[in-house]
Symmetry: C2
Subunit: 196 residues, 2 copies
Amino acid sequence: MTRPTRSSKKAAVRQALVAAANRRFHRQGFEQTTIDEICADAGVSRRTFFRYFENKEALAFPHRAERLERFLALLDGAGHSPNPVDGLRAICETFAHEYSANREQLLAQQRLVDSVPALAAREHEIDRDWEAAMAATFRRRFGRGAAAERRARLMAGAAIGVIRATMRYWYEKDGKPDLARLGQEALDRLEQGFLC
Amino acid sequence: MTRPTRSSKKAAVRQALVAAANRRFHRQGFEQTTIDEICADAGVSRRTFFRYFENKEALAFPHRAERLERFLALLDGAGHSPNPVDGLRAICETFAHEYSANREQLLAQQRLVDSVPALAAREHEIDRDWEAAMAATFRRRFGRGAAAERRARLMAGAAIGVIRATMRYWYEKDGKPDLARLGQEALDRLEQGFLC
DNA sequence: CCAAAACTGGCACTCAGTGGCACTTTTAGG
DNA sequence: CCTAAAAGTGCCACTGAGTGCCAGTTTTGG
């Protein structure tokens, strides 16, 4: 029987908070759940809660930091394709598989997010992080100059736009369509434009 | 001397709150300003404040409802062009002129928004409204069917993506570039895609 | 084994936002 | 005009989010 290390205990506390929050949010709704209740369930003080999460909203996106990190790493790794969209295609494939594997959990999370405006706002914040990451990558690929800069940003903006639209569509269809396929079609559009 | 009517008084109170908030936000920052202070400046009770604005954040976007309404009307009006982007081009022209005319005010507002995460989140909420409006319009143009539906949504997502990226660029350049021109270039990209 | 560092709990505090109620002003109908 | 209903306002008490502070405990590395 190994003694619990500090970091493993931290992970356990975090996990307990997330689990308690999920239960409560699901049963009572987001606003109707107080942080006190979550803390009581997790056996932790309110003060400690705020050392694990910035605020109540953060509980609804427990993988935010980790996923962004992974996205950044993948963007870095896919740095060699001549066309930046090809890099996105590969990344899309990776995330599509992960999301499909966690379908139920994601659907539940999304139902929650859609029902609480404050959470929808946080979700956009996340998108913004991803957009910034893509813009930085594209900029590196497109080189210097104001035109290249603008192009990189427009492309990142359009990319996150079609990605988010795709996710919403997938969620709305209860995660039944093939997400990887939807993603590839979205990226096709991004490449080829919307001229009729 | 005309007796002040009820609605004119309401408008005056609203205006006073917005003005007081702008002053305070500018001098002390958003979080450092309490609603109490704003109410005191405007000569109104705290309880009354919440009858004019949903929350403190709403003070930073005083034209939100009005602008969305106008956008919706323009979308409706531009319903006859064969290519939906043409409709956007006309609308872009209209808003570009308005924004350029209110450059200073918009720049100040944006500096505030960029410095407060909560406000950035609200801004995304606004974008979401605009995206939904565009998606509905495009859907009408593209007809029935899942493919048309998806196309409409992807296009709306990409559109708001390039528009927001354009606005950010313009803000960052202190509103000096020709916004109408930037907008048209962004819409060119939307039409023609990002294939290298 | 020990000192430093990290973690925790508890308390007091500020401020956003809500509900309720009494009071005043505006409006519309006769 | 006059008046009753409706709309708007102020005040008060309350809940709950989030922060600063400090004292006590646990973990870690040497």
